[in-house]
């Protein structure tokens, strides 16, 4: 199992790397889905099957499909790929990459100190999660609902196609 964990982790990292450096939007999106699947597997391995399911259903399912729709609407083609090629000149990415590496270095240095304990893989499933959500976190769930409502209103207003826009 340990082998599965680490190999999945490597897959997640590689897929994510391909997303970040990708040229073609749809390809990048597919790599992102791969990465999300990998993370879902990790969730499962860590003993969180429900989280794994959510990761696939909502993240890889709903949210990514939204992306696909938009990319299709924008009809990104070969020209855009060439443009991406030009935008990704070393002068653009070198500085940010170094900075991100410094950040990562800091984190890894902190995490290497250890002492965090082990994940035993004991399962905390949908039942416990549900109880927690609807007892002590009930208020938070309500808040999440409001959050979604706000986003809905926003998307409705911003995405609305108005008659006068067509002129």
């Amino acid at each position: 199992m340990t082998v599965v964990f680490y190999s999945t982790a490597v897959i997640a990292i590689l897929a994510t790397l391909l997303v970040v450096t990708g040229r073609h939007a749809v390809h990048a999106l597919l790599y992102l889905v791969v990465s999300l699947f990998a993370v879902a597997v990790l969730f499962y391995l860590m003993g969180a099957p429900f989280a794994a399911a959510l990761e696939i259903i909502i993240y890889a399912g709903a949210i990514m499909v939204l992306f696909v729709f938009v990319i299709m609407m924008l009809n990104l083609g070969r020209a855009d790929m060439e443009q991406e090629e030009r935008w990704l000149a070393p002068t653009t990415w070198l500085g940010p990459a170094v900075l991100s590496a410094v950040l990562l270095g800091q984190w890894l240095w902190v995490l290497r100190q250890g002492g965090g304990g082990d994940i035993t893989g004991e399962i905390v499933g949908a039942r416990e999660l549900g109880i927690a959500l609807f007892s002590q976190y009930l208020l938070a769930v309500e808040m999440a609902g409001l959050l979604l409502l706000a986003a809905l209103v926003g998307a409705f207003h911003l995405g609305r196609k108005r008659r006068e826009d067509d002129e």
Partner: protein, 611 residues
């Protein structure tokens, strides 16, 4: 008495509020009545209060209006405190202030924005009164800020000319540098003594600090920094001569009764702190000495009538600092009072002259005004005599004499301080009468005769009388200041007197006696040469030129003003440069903004990980 005390600053404040809010509906006469009347009433109140105060044996009066605020251990109330020092300051501010207001009602009658002028003036007086009457340092700082704000508003208002924008900025930057120092000093004081109320603070300081303790010296130095900025002393004197473009009565108010004397008052008020900080106190004396010499020297070569007076203000305040520095607190206040009289008079008189000459400021384009402006000449002469410290006749002589004697008696560097003061006195007498002779003597440049109503004549006359006789007014300060033993050597007195007379004589020689002569073409050569030599002031002109004008102009050109001027320009430039730099980073690119976010995270993360 408590109520009366509060009335004094509140009356001009009320005047300001009325003018600011309802002034638009008032006719000019109404504005004049409110503007001058409020200060006049304050002056009357002050006089009444002073009478009561002295009758009651000069015991301090404390008037608490109510609490102001409290933050932790720190609290400040709206409380005024009247003692012998505050009484004198109040009388001078309201009295001289009222005379200037009264003068302005007629002098400024043609000004389009009469109302705002008086509103600012009233606010100015109110802020200054708050400053001198404050019982705690926070209230004092309120007055301090108010005075600074008013001066900035006035400069900003009158400087329509964009070229003068620099002057306004300069005044702003320079006085702010002083204010930063002052505020730091006050907070340091608070942290050490846990008190903002002045009297307990002054009483507590000697118990808490050893004389010469490092913290005490630091505090005194910071306070001195504030005083130096506000009172235009070296090295922060540069803003004052440039801040002259306002109308003359404003200059009179800034230079005589308010604003620049704030620094002198502050140090005098906090003198026990300076007594505990001998190094800082010596610094006060040296700053004063350097300032009085440099400013007097600068005044020697000015052509603009108001700039001469401006430099003379800096120089005279240098004398006050000198007195403070040698512990002659009473002498400093005495000179502050007489200076208020004659400097207000001189500025108002200069305003009359400038107006008469149709806004000509250059004294060398004037002349002979004695004949056409006899009244102005009379009072101006009284003021100039007092400034020049004409011996035994004028108020200025008595106050300056006290300072010089005190300097001579100083335990350290007494000779140096005295000698510097005497040289300054010589220059003072010279430049004041150079001004008088050039402007009022010789051939008249105009035949137009002056006309002045009583609202102009009465204040000038009164100030003239005070400039002469003001030295006889007793200024009891024994409850506030410790006794000061000054030297009383008759020789020194005579020396000071003689120097003043010599300066006047010199001025007569170089600028009074010499006037364009008649036809000389058919004189023999020797006679022409003699005449030219005589006409050139027996060579004094050349000496004058070599000793004063040339070096001053050269240094001025070389340094474009003064070194400090450069430093100020540097402060401005640095801030503007940083403005440009930071603004360039604000380039609109999300990616760059996101870099900022990551940098911020790192800025918090790295110290956590590595410290």
């Amino acid at each position: 008495m408590e109520l009366l005390l509060w009335l004094i600053p509140l009356l001009p404040l009320a005047g300001f509020l009325v003018l600011a809010v309802a002034g638009a509906r008032l006719p000019k006469a109404g504005v004049a009545v409110v503007g001058a009347g409020s200060v006049g009433l304050a002056a009357l109140t002050a006089a009444l209060l002073a009478a009561l105060f002295y009758n009651a044996g000069s015991d301090p009066v404390i008037a608490r209006l109510g609490p102001w605020f409290r933050a932790g251990d720190l609290s400040a109330d709206f409380t005024l405190y009247l003692d012998q020092l505050a009484v004198i300051m109040t009388l001078v501010i309201t009295g001289v202030g009222f005379l200037i207001h009264a003068f302005s009602t007629e002098f400024m009658a043609d000004e389009a924005d009469y109302r705002r002028y008086f509103a600012y003036l009233n606010l100015f007086v109110a802020a200054m009164l708050m400053l001198v009457l404050a019982d705690n340092l926070v209230l004092l700082f309120l007055g301090w800020e108010g005075v600074g704000l008013c001066s900035y508003l006035l400069i900003g208002y009158w400087h329509r000319d964009p070229a003068n924008g620099y002057a306004a900025r300069k005044a702003f930057v320079v006085t702010r540098i002083g204010d930063v120092a002052l505020l730091l000093g006050l907070f340091l004081l608070f942290v050490e003594l846990g008190e903002f109320s002045i009297q307990p603070l002054l009483a507590g300081a000697p118990l808490y600090f050893e004389s010469g303790a490092a913290r005490m010296e630091l505090i005194a130095f910071l306070i001195l920094g504030g005083a130096v900025g506000k009172s235009a002393q070296l090295p922060l004197q540069v803003w004052l001569p440039d801040a002259m473009a306002g109308p003359s009565p404003v200059s009179a108010l800034i230079h005589a009764a308010t604003m620049v004397t704030a620094g002198v008052y502050l140090i005098a008020r906090l003198h026990p702190l300076f007594e505990l900080a001998p190094v800082a106190q010596m610094m006060v004396a040296l700053v004063g000495l350097a300032t009085l010499l440099v400013a007097a020297w600068a005044a020697l070569s000015q052509r603009d009538i108001k700039r001469i007076l401006a430099y003379s203000t800096i120089s005279q305040i240098g004398y006050m600092f000198l007195a403070l520095g040698v512990g002659a607190w009473g002498a400093a206040i005495f000179h502050l009072v007489t200076h208020a009289f004659f400097k207000a008079l001189l500025f108002l008189g200069a305003g009359r002259v400038i107006e008469h000459m149709h806004h000509e400021h250059d004294i060398f384009r004037m002349g002979g005004l004695r004949r056409v402006m006899p009244f102005t000449f009379g009072v101006f002469l009284a003021g100039a005599a007092s400034l020049a410290a004409v011996p035994w006749l004028t108020a200025g002589f008595y106050s300056k004499d006290q300072i010089l004697l005190a300097a001579a008696g100083a335990p350290e560097l007494g000779t140096l301080l005295f000698a510097g003061g005497v040289i300054g006195a010589l220059m003072t007498a010279f430049y004041s009468f150079r001004l008088v002779f050039t402007v009022f003597f010789g051939e008249p440049v105009t035949q137009e005769r002056e006309h002045a109503g009583w609202r102009i004549q009465a204040p000038l006359a009164l100030l003239g009388v005070l400039s002469i006789a003001g030295g006889l007014i007793p200024l009891p300060l024994e409850q506030v200041f410790p006794d000061h033993h000054a030297s009383h050597a008759l020789g020194l007195v005579l020396l000071a007197a003689g120097v003043a007379l010599a300066g006047i004589a010199l001025a007569w020689w170089t600028h009074g006696r010499r006037r364009p002569t008649g036809e000389t073409a058919n004189w023999p050569l020797w006679r022409r040469g003699l005449d030219r030599w005589q006409a050139s002031g027996l060579g004094f002109d050349a000496v004058y030129g070599v000793l004063v004008e040339t070096p001053f102009n050269t240094t001025a050109r070389a340094l474009r003003g003064e070194i400090v001027d450069r430093a100020v320009a540097l402060v401005i430039a640095v801030n503007q440069g940083l403005n440009a730099l930071t603004a360039r980073l604000q380039n609109g690119r999300i990616r760059h903004y996101a870099l900022g976010v990551v940098l911020g995270v790192l800025a918090l993360l790295i110290p956590v990980v590595w410290l």
